[in-house]
């Protein structure tokens, strides 16, 4: 196994453990921190695939902007530890096995669809920054602009909602 494979398995493991920790933690801040860890390890996985631009954007947008807002809101609301109730019987006897079955199913389908030697290929994604820019502003210009307008509408809506009643 090459160094890239070791790095892949390490950061994939960190991502999965971080995601598990996100659910298991009781305190919202700890959950948010685990999510940041997941985002960062995903960025490393993108980097291993050769997608430098997407890796950097992943950190800037998700870890640097969105999660800061999450943490900010949790701090302002001063959210405490969540209270746990014992698992309901349905969740225990039906939900958990079903989740396990679903996980196995997804793994099986993915494993059948792509042979194992094709799964992790470092440097396979060759979309450099320039290629991504050309695709976004050329081929996908309409969806790109539509998304921009959608976000603008959401922004205006948020401002209207936050406005004080006259």
């Amino acid at each position: 196994m090459s160094a890239e494979h070791w790095l892949f398995f390490f950061f994939a493991g960190v991502a999965v453990l971080g995601a598990l920790n996100l659910i298991l933690q009781r305190h919202p801040i700890h959950s948010a921190l685990s999510l940041i860890l997941v985002m960062a390890s995903l960025a490393v996985l993108y980097l291993l695939l050769g997608a430098e631009f997407i890796a950097a954007i992943q950190i800037i947008v998700y870890a640097g902007a969105i999660m800061v807002l999450f943490v900010f809101v949790i701090m302002v609301l001063n959210a405490g530890e969540e209270e746990r109730t014992s698992l309901s019987r349905v969740a225990k006897f039906v939900g958990l096995p079903l989740a396990a079955v679903f996980l196995v199913e997804v793994c099986y389908v993915l494993y059948r669809a792509w042979p194992s030697e094709q799964m992790v290929v470092p440097e396979r994604f060759l979309g450099r920054t320039e290629a991504i820019g050309k695709a976004l502003y050329g081929e996908f210009l309409l969806p790109f602009e539509l998304t921009a307008i959608l976000i603008l509408i959401a922004l205006v809506g948020a401002v209207v909602l936050a406005q004080k009643e006259p």
Binding site: A3, H27, I29, H30, L33, I36, E52, F53, A55, A56, I57, I59, I60, A63, G64, A65, V68, L69, V71, F72, M75, V76, R128, T129
Partner: protein, 405 residues
């Protein structure tokens, strides 16, 4: 293990360079504190530190030892012990990480059989990497403020989060103007694109066509580092010490070092983006060839100044130490005359000289300007800097598109 390393010498080289860089950076951070105290003192007609070593040059060492031996008070009623202990480490680690992609010079050299340059990592999206790492820096401050379970740190953390999010926009928009001209995200190529001159004497630095972007970037950079006049997160008259009120000893020192490392990173970035990085300000012609000897000459002048001090100072120990420093500098000046060293030193010399200029401005601002009020801070960022930076992007893109036709 050793066999694996011998098959991958580039890893060893990268580790070696990272170690050297961290050592140099931490030393620079320590002496940045000395520089700031000395400069502010002189601006205010005081002497500043002058007892510990000649001109107070050993003061950073004394400060470091003091931090090390102070009692480390760890609160027991913190909101989250893990986060409380983790925040200073996160702050310092991210501040040190950002410098990894800064290129210090164009020359390549051979180290352990690998060709390598004056950088730890040369990645294609170097600029985005720096922005990403600095945008994560806010977590150290916010988490420290939150986990301390105390009112002043919490308010400081909240202020810092709001301020950093606001000014990051202006910072990023200001960079876009440079990107449009350079057409690349690699810091090395951005500097290379600035070589040459306009009309034979004016260097083709981005600061001339992008002056507005430069002002936006530098002001937003000062705000990002939480320095005066934007140091509301640690405003001592309102918040005691802001987010690091409940930290002592080495943990406080970590926040302190992170702040100064941020200042150095911001100055390096301004130099690389707008002032041609390692490029010499003089035209690349035979008539200006003599400027190659500037690093050596300036070191020699510094050595002479210390030589004079060796006879002027009254303290015996200071005299001996000054003489030793003088000898060291004189040796360095001779070493810089060696052909290989002469070529290799050009890039770092100019980069660090320009960076030093911005460090001076950072300190100068702190000595001159009073602190903003909170509403002024927000209005300044959102109503002036962001629109100005966006306008700059508009104008620049129009000019670039018009030129391309």
């Amino acid at each position: 293990m050793s066999e694996w390393i011998s098959r991958h010498p580039e890893l060893l080289v990268a580790g070696l360079k990272a170690g050297v860089l961290i050592f140099v950076l931490l030393t620079a951070v320590a002496y940045m504190v000395w520089f700031e105290r000395k400069l502010i003192a002189h601006i205010q007609s005081r002497w500043g530190p002058y007892r510990v070593g000649p001109h107070g040059l050993l003061q950073p060492l004394a400060d470091g030892l003091k931090f090390l031996f102070k009692e480390d008070i760890i609160l027991t009623n913190v909101t989250s012990r893990f986060v409380y202990l983790f925040a200073p480490f996160l702050s310092l680690a991210l501040a040190l990480l950002a410098v990894a992609v800064i290129p210090f010079g164009p020359e390549e050299f051979e180290l352990l059989g690998t060709r390598t340059g004056l950088y730890v990592a040369d990645i294609n999206v170097g600029l985005l990497f720096v922005l990403a790492v600095t945008s994560l820096g806010v977590y150290g401050v916010v988490l420290a403020g939150w986990s301390s379970n105390s009112k002043y740190p919490l308010l400081g953390g909240l202020r810092s989060a709001a301020q950093m999010i606001s000014y990051e926009l202006a910072l990023t928009f200001a960079v876009v103007g440079v990107l449009l001209l350079a057409g690349t995200l690699s810091l090395r190529e951005i500097v290379d694109g600035q070589s040459g001159t306009w009309a034979g004497f004016l260097p083709r630095w981005h600061v001339f066509p992008q002056f507005v972007a430069f002002v936006c970037f530098f002001v937003a950079g000062v705000a990002e580092t939480n320095r005066t006049p934007f140091d509301l997160p640690e405003a001592e008259s309102e918040l005691v010490a802001g987010f690091h009120t409940e930290y002592s000893s080495l943990k406080f020192a970590m926040f302190f070092m992170a702040e100064y490392a941020h200042i150095i990173t911001t100055s390096l970035l301004v130099t690389i983006l707008f002032f041609g990085g390692w490029l010499s300000p003089f035209p690349d012609t035979a008539a200006w060839n003599f400027t190659r000897f500037l690093p050596s000459v300036l070191t020699a002048v510094l050595a002479l100044l210390f030589f004079r001090d060796a006879f002027r100072l009254t303290n015996q120990y200071h005299r001996v130490l000054t003489f030793l420093i003088c000898m060291g500098l004189a040796g360095l000046a001779f070493l810089l005359l060696h052909p290989t060293a002469l070529v290799l030193a050009q890039g770092p010399f100019w980069l660090l000289a320009k960076t030093g200029m911005f460090l001076f401005v950072f300190v100068w601002t702190r000595a001159t300007l009073p602190r903003f009020r909170y509403d002024q801070l927000m209005a300044f960022g959102w109503k002036l800097l962001v629109p100005l930076a966006v306008l700059n992007v508009f104008v620049t893109s129009f000019v670039v598109a018009w030129r391309a036709d």
